[in-house]
Subunit: 198 residues, 2 copies
DNA sequence: CAGTTTTCTAGAAAATTATTCTATTTCTTG
DNA sequence: CAAGAAATAGAATAATTTTCTAGAAAACTG
């Protein structure tokens, strides 16, 4: 892809990686410009050169983590044949990502819609819509074939993503006694039921 | 309850009300100490006396809005007899609250788990758990009677609240084309299916 | 009801955090 | 290699939150 990687690309990556580390280690309250500078070894000027603002950095990090999550879900989906298998794969992939990459999952859930949104919500929304469209495209023919109940696409999305996101969120808060293994065993079937045609 | 209301209680109320107004009018980025002071006419000293920090104010506002939402859901639930009616009432009440009190709903979704969490998450979690317990207590006998599938309580909560919260969130973002009326017509039944015993 | 204590209000000063700005270095390109 | 663009650097500035001291209002006590 990039035989000679720009100097700046490496800096961008260092910043994003360090920012995720800082967030995981110190939470929202420790998530400051200075902390990220120290953790990354990058200068203030570079940070503002590449991201324009600290919120810009956070928005980029959110986008990156969110796209990684969706890419895992889409990869799992592409291996499925029937609607039922596909929906269950989506659920399982989300929960697996949460368990395997808790830092990224925590940032997604902790900073989503949370201030960083304000200025960059449009860009974030577009990025998310693009990923959702891939999933919607996979589901559409199954809806038309009657494998899935004939519901508006946004409601299908909400029925699938809602319970999984809420589960991940509770597990990441780690005070609700949420058992991810149990959730992964039970939820795929339950969510599938909510989409099943009569 | 309070024949002679403390002077301070009125101040607390003025601050919370003004804070919600500011948030609704200016969003997360305009949500600052000074903006709330100006909107409320309360002094800086009073704010810090009553809430300890600006995050403390935000946490109190979040708790208040969240409890109002749950109280509506619980009131709707208490009018129901069967499990099916109860679950559908929960969903409908959440969506109605979102439509009728968009300011409160927006603050709940916009600031939830979003920085204000850090310091006061414990208190918030306790308050939320108390409300969830009321709902769990209503559902438990129905689960034992076989009206609802025998799932762990957290998973029932997640299956009900997940899709509704996600729907509200998208509608409040107002860029996803989410139709609340349509959602209120379709979701109660779909969510109920996910809880139905075999 | 005077004296005492606590609660509440007030806002200036300090500390923390984000952003702007100018200078310098490194890369790219003709 | 010269000129311009991109990237790095950090001091200075601006914005925002928090602390702190002082005083007014209310509650309490003998």
């Amino acid at each position: 892809m990039s035989p000679k990687q720009q100097r700046g690309e490496a800096t961008v990556d260092r910043l994003l990686t360090a920012a995720l580390d800082v967030y995981a280690a110190s939470g929202q309250s420790g998530f400051t410009v200075n902390a990220v500078l120290k953790a990354s070894g990058v200068s203030l000027g570079s940070l503002y050169h590449h991201f324009g603002s600290f919120d810009g950095l956070a928005a980029a990090l959110y986008t990156r983590c969110m796209e990684q999550l969706f890419d895992e879900m889409i990869a799992a989906l592409s291996r499925a044949r029937t609607a039922r298998t596909g929906v269950r794969a989506l659920v399982t992939a989300y929960l697996r990502f949460t368990e395997e990459r808790p830092d990224a999952a925590l940032f997604i859930h902790g900073s989503a819609y949370s201030g960083y949104l304000s200025a960059h919500s449009e860009h974030i929304r577009t990025a998310k819509a693009a990923k959702l469209a891939v999933i919607a495209d996979w589901l559409r023919p199954r809806v038309e074939a009657g494998e899935i109940a004939p519901l508006p696409a946004p409601l299908i999305e909400v029925l699938v993503m809602g319970p999984v996101a809420e589960t991940a969120h509770r597990w990441l808060s780690s005070t609700y006694d949420m058992d991810l293994t149990q959730a992964a065993r039970i939820l795929p079937d339950r969510i599938w039921r909510s989409l099943q045609p009569d």
